[in-house]
């Protein structure tokens, strides 16, 4: 037992490094009285170090901590994505003007960020329901506070309260679902659940109820209809950097968890059918359920985004819609489905972070988040304007940007699995999404700046470096994406693919 614990620790370096970084930040925060982003740089170092140790683990496939945590390529992929997002978020945070008033508490900000990262990394690798719930709550609790970090502003406070209320309720419901699932199967880890359910079950109704309840919690985290209503308020109220991490990292983590949970628990051990789709444990219709949710998310997200003026709110609805697209991949779940989700998330990371980043840069300089006030910004800040255009075009899914490849791949997976109606909705909604994305572009370029603000906006070199770090992958992935496909494919071996 001790041996296994010790061995497990040796497989757990990335998480341990982040925990240690958290401790170092606490100490540093006590010692250093200057109000600057030192702690942020420490956390950045921690993330990078964790990323390096993560790379050393690539290719391993084992179960540690008494089957609580799976160290496998699938979790490595998601952890790499999460750490990458975390690094970008820190780079955003150190430039954020919103945080300036809170410099005396900035240490806490980074502590919570570290906690959130730890939670998310465990979310994607947990194979035990308790561990999964703990990680889920660790992520949630840190993000509740982070959303309200700029607590002097009313809207930040309000969004954090809404977030914790919706979050607490939905995680409570999810927990109830877990308890039912555990009761039916008598197992607390997902492999045990699968074993207990293998070959059909007599408790189909109860199981479906429990899945419904679990979906409430997970749907909340990925912000998918009908559990999305928190997202617009929270994104609008939260500091941009936190809105970005919620839109990207927290979604990535939730998808990792969702895929692992559903594909391991409810897939019949028989594996694939002739047509290449998964055999689902008899009597459980979770994939139809998810399909409907995906369709609703696409429809509602895109249609509501049409009439938003606050750009963060618009991006929130757009991210709901994107959750719908990604969920399509989960619905299919056949090998292509999962790898298409992973590809989508990878590209989504760059394009969505990029959009949030430019929004933050503009907010720093102009203090506005209103799309109407973006008029003429393309002329005042050419580089940033072009970059935002490219990010939004990529979010729409027009080639030759990464967003197109992501959509292509996920649509392709859906077509090949025969979910034609879902693809048709997705295609239609992509057209709708064009309207609101292009509106921002139109405002930036087709109108002259207001007379009070015609001077060009200058950004420092540093912010441009970060911008290019997001822009280049977005464009490059639209043209050459073979390595990403390989990476995603190699990462799903754990499902026997």
């Amino acid at each position: 037992m001790v041996e296994q614990t010790l061995y497990s620790i040796s497989q757990f370096y990335p998480e341990i490094i982040i925990t240690l970084t958290l401790c170092v930040i606490i100490v540093t925060d006590l010692l250093i009285k200057e109000e600057n982003h030192t702690t942020g740089w420490i956390l950045l170092g921690g993330f990078v170090l964790a990323g390096l140790t993560l790379m050393l683990q690539f290719g391993r496939n084992e179960s540690v901590f008494f089957d609580m945590i799976a160290i496998d390529p699938f979790s490595h992929f998601f952890k790499a994505l999460l750490l990458l997002t975390g690094i970008f978020i820190i780079l955003f945070s150190v430039q954020s003007r919103e945080l300036n008033n809170y410099m005396h508490r900035i240490g806490e900000y980074y502590m919570l960020l570290a906690g959130m990262m730890l939670g998310m990394m465990m979310m994607v690798s947990s194979s035990n329901l308790l561990m999964l719930f703990l990680a889920f709550e660790l992520t949630s609790i840190s993000s509740y506070v982070l959303v309200g970090f700029t607590k002097q502003t009313k809207r930040s406070s309000e969004s954090s309260m809404k977030y914790i209320i919706y979050g607490a309720v939905s995680s409570g419901v999810m927990l109830y679902g877990f308890s039912l699932l555990i009761g039916i199967t008598g197992a607390v880890d997902i492999y045990g659940i699968n074993e207990a359910l293998a070959g059909g079950t007599e408790h189909a109704l109860l199981l479906n109820i429990s899945i419904l309840m679990i979906l409430v919690g997970m749907g909340f985290k990925i912000a998918v209809v009908p559990f999305h209503f928190w997202a617009p308020d929270v994104y609008e109220g939260a500091p941009v950097s936190i809105a970005a991490i919620l839109a990207v990292a927290s979604k990535i983590a939730a998808f990792g968890l969702l895929i692992r949970f559903f594909s391991v628990s409810f897939i019949d051990a028989g594996g694939l059918t002739e047509s290449g789709s998964w055999q689902v444990v008899e009597g459980i219709h979770w994939n139809q359920l998810l399909g409907v949710m995906a369709a609703l998310a696409m429809i509602l997200g895109n249609l509501t985004a049409l009439r938003q003026d606050n750009i963060k709110r618009m991006l929130a609805y757009s991210s709901i819609a994107h959750a719908g697209y990604i969920l399509m991949g989960v619905v299919i779940l056949a090998g292509e489905g999962i790898s298409s989700v992973m590809i989508y998330l990878f590209i989504y990371l760059f394009m969505n972070l990029g959009a949030f980043y430019v929004v933050m840069l503009f907010y720093n300089k102009t203090g506005t988040e209103s799309i109407e006030k973006y008029k003429g910004l393309g002329k005042r800040a050419p580089l940033q304007g072009v970059a935002l255009t490219i990010f939004l075009v990529s979010l729409t899914g027009i080639p030759p940007t990464g967003g197109f490849v992501a959509k292509l791949y996920i649509f392709g997976a859906a077509v090949s699995a025969g979910w034609i109606w879902l693809v048709a909705i997705a295609g239609l909604m992509t057209i709708v999404s064009l309207f609101y994305y292009i509106r921002v572009v139109r405002n930036m370029y087709f109108y002259e700046p207001e007379e009070t603000a015609v001077k060009p906006i200058r950004f420092n070199v540093w912010s441009n470096v970060v911008l290019f770090a997001l822009l280049i992958p977005t464009l490059l992935l639209g043209i050459y994406f073979a390595p990403l496909l390989e990476f995603a494919r190699n990462s799903i071996h754990m499902f026997g693919m």
Partner: protein, 527 residues
């Protein structure tokens, strides 16, 4: 045919010369406008030279269409290959370019019109750098579509055109440019999504057996999609005359019909034309519309011969409506640009009618009409542009007696107008004649009704000539200057082509005859 410069194939140069130009332009300082213009002219000039080389050495006897061996200037590199997955097989996307008789004329047209467009853009003053960068990106997209033989590549080039066009209309256009730009964008984007879904369905239905490894490989290769033997069993689009094949054909057809534009998908065109700046109108009418008919010929016809034959009457009927409707609408316009826009709809209808005949005559006539119409509308839009530059007016009733003030201009413009009317001896006549002859063989009544469109065309063009060029010159127009050297440069090559092809169309017909006959056989034998 092998031809390469520095080890890079001629088609790659052709497609990416504008991109190189764009990158250079982006690095030039804003102020240095002339350098920017000359770079753009250089990039498109190189294209013209390359197109000339292609014209000279193109082997007129090769079949093309569905036979990979007989394509010319082939460049094929593996672009994205992902190794085997059990139920999907290997994924393969190629960088696959090639020319056959169908595309060669379009490539030549594109290079000419692109250069003319640069020349007529010379006096654009607003955001010169952005304008030319977007312009060159647009040219790359168009050229790419004409030479791509991989559906994925085709799609990428197809969609690359969208954004530059949106900005070019939306930023440099007329008063209602914003509306026109977004309308254009949405129409084409809707079509694009339809094409994307069809492309995916095709991809999963088509798998060829790799001779080297014996693996089953899914592919975007358009030529493989034409071979019925490559369709996997149980694929969505496998089989002949299935509902899904009809649906797929229809989705593609709608996409291309939007671009052509065929009635009832045409409503974006008048808006876009009216609001677009002159050079963009030239590009739009001269090349962009041809992408639609080209797409039908390259993708719809050979990949879905069964569905093509099934829908052929439908297509011919739409073409007929377009011809008549376009001509009637043109008659009713009092805006010069709108008039040409509607006449484009009418003329593109003739193209569709010709190719819908599914015989060699009609097909040759149709493709030739594509080329001719490109040249002719370019002249017409340039003509409008010249007047608009001088007077800032486009209304037909705003002018009169221009012939007295600008005799040389009038002469050139009238040649263009007579060519549009189909006057024998000018190029429009030849292609329209062929198209109608071919169509008459296939559908008597539709053709007969369509021919009345020609009469309407004649009347509105003559009426326009009368209103604009003849009669008394209004007071305010008495100080108009005749053409400048730059304007001559834009006009003369096109006028020469109009006359040359009117008298002796053989060089153009020779280029495509073999391929198109083969295409006709291919469709009529059911693939």
């Amino acid at each position: 045919m092998e031809f390469s410069i520095f080890g890079i194939g001629i088609l790659t140069w052709l497609v990416f010369a504008p991109i190189v130009g764009m990158i250079i332009i982006l690095m030039l300082p804003d102020k240095n406008r002339n350098a920017i213009r000359w770079t753009a002219a250089g990039a498109t000039g190189i294209q013209v030279i390359l197109a000339g080389v292609i014209f000279a050495i193109f082997d007129r006897s090769k079949l093309g269409i569905n036979d990979a061996e007989s394509f010319q200037f082939i460049e094929k590199y593996s672009w994205i290959t992902v190794e085997a997955v059990p139920w999907v097989g290997r994924i393969e996307i190629n960088y696959f370019l090639g020319l056959d008789g169908l595309s060669v004329l379009m490539v030549i047209l594109t290079s000419i019109i692109a250069l003319i467009g640069v020349i007529s853009s010379w006096n654009i003053q607003k955001m010169v750098k952005g304008y030319f960068a977007l312009y060159l990106l647009l040219v790359t997209g168009m050229m790419g579509v004409f030479v791509a033989l991989d559906f994925f590549l085709f799609f990428i080039f197809w969609e690359v055109m969208l954004l530059p066009m949106y900005f070019l209309i939306g930023l440099w256009g007329g008063p209602r440019r914003e509306y026109a730009a977004i309308k254009f964008f949405i129409y084409t984007f809707v079509g694009g999504i339809l094409m994307l879904l069809t492309m995916l369905a095709l991809y999963f239905s088509v798998a060829y057996t790799d001779p080297a490894s014996g693996q089953s490989v899914h592919t975007f290769n358009i030529l493989h999609m034409m071979n019925p033997a490559n369709y996997v069993e149980g694929g969505l689009l496998s089989g002949v005359d299935t509902t899904w094949r009809y649906v797929a054909w229809m989705a593609l057809f709608i996409n291309f019909a939007i671009k052509i534009p065929l009635f009832p998908f045409h409503t974006w065109l008048p808006d876009a034309h009216v609001e677009a700046p002159t050079p963009i109108s030239v590009i739009l009418a001269g090349i962009l519309l041809k992408l639609g008919t080209y797409g039908l010929l390259r993708i719809n016809f050979p990949i879905f011969p069964d569905a093509t034959i099934y829908f052929v009457y439908f297509m011919a009927a739409l073409a007929m409506i377009s011809i008549i409707y376009g001509a009637l609408c043109a008659m009713a316009q009092d805006d010069f640009k709108k008039l040409i826009a509607y006449s484009s709809i009418s003329h593109m209808g003739i193209v569709v009618l010709g190719i819908a005949a599914l015989n060699t005559q009609g097909m040759v006539g149709g493709v030739l009409q594509m080329f001719n119409h490109g040249i002719i509308t370019a002249v017409l839009f340039l003509a409008v542009g010249v007047l608009y530059d001088r007077t800032k007016k486009r209304g037909l009733y705003d002018f009169g007696g221009i012939a007295n003030q600008m005799p040389k201009y009038t002469g050139l413009a009238m040649i263009g107008m007579f060519a549009a009317l189909g006057l024998p001896g000018l190029n429009g006549f030849v292609s329209e004649l062929f198209s109608f002859l071919g169509a008459f063989e296939a559908y008597k009544w539709i053709t007969i009704i369509s021919v009345t469109g020609i009469i309407i065309t004649a009347s509105y063009i003559l009426w326009t000539i009368q209103r604009v060029f003849l009669g008394k010159t209004p007071e305010k127009l008495t100080d108009l200057k005749d053409l400048t050297l730059r304007e001559y440069l834009a006009f003369i090559p096109l006028i020469i082509l109009i006359i040359l092809l009117g008298i002796y169309p053989a060089p153009a017909i020779e280029l495509m005859n073999t391929s198109l006959s083969h295409l006709v056989d291919f469709i009529n034998t059911g693939g």
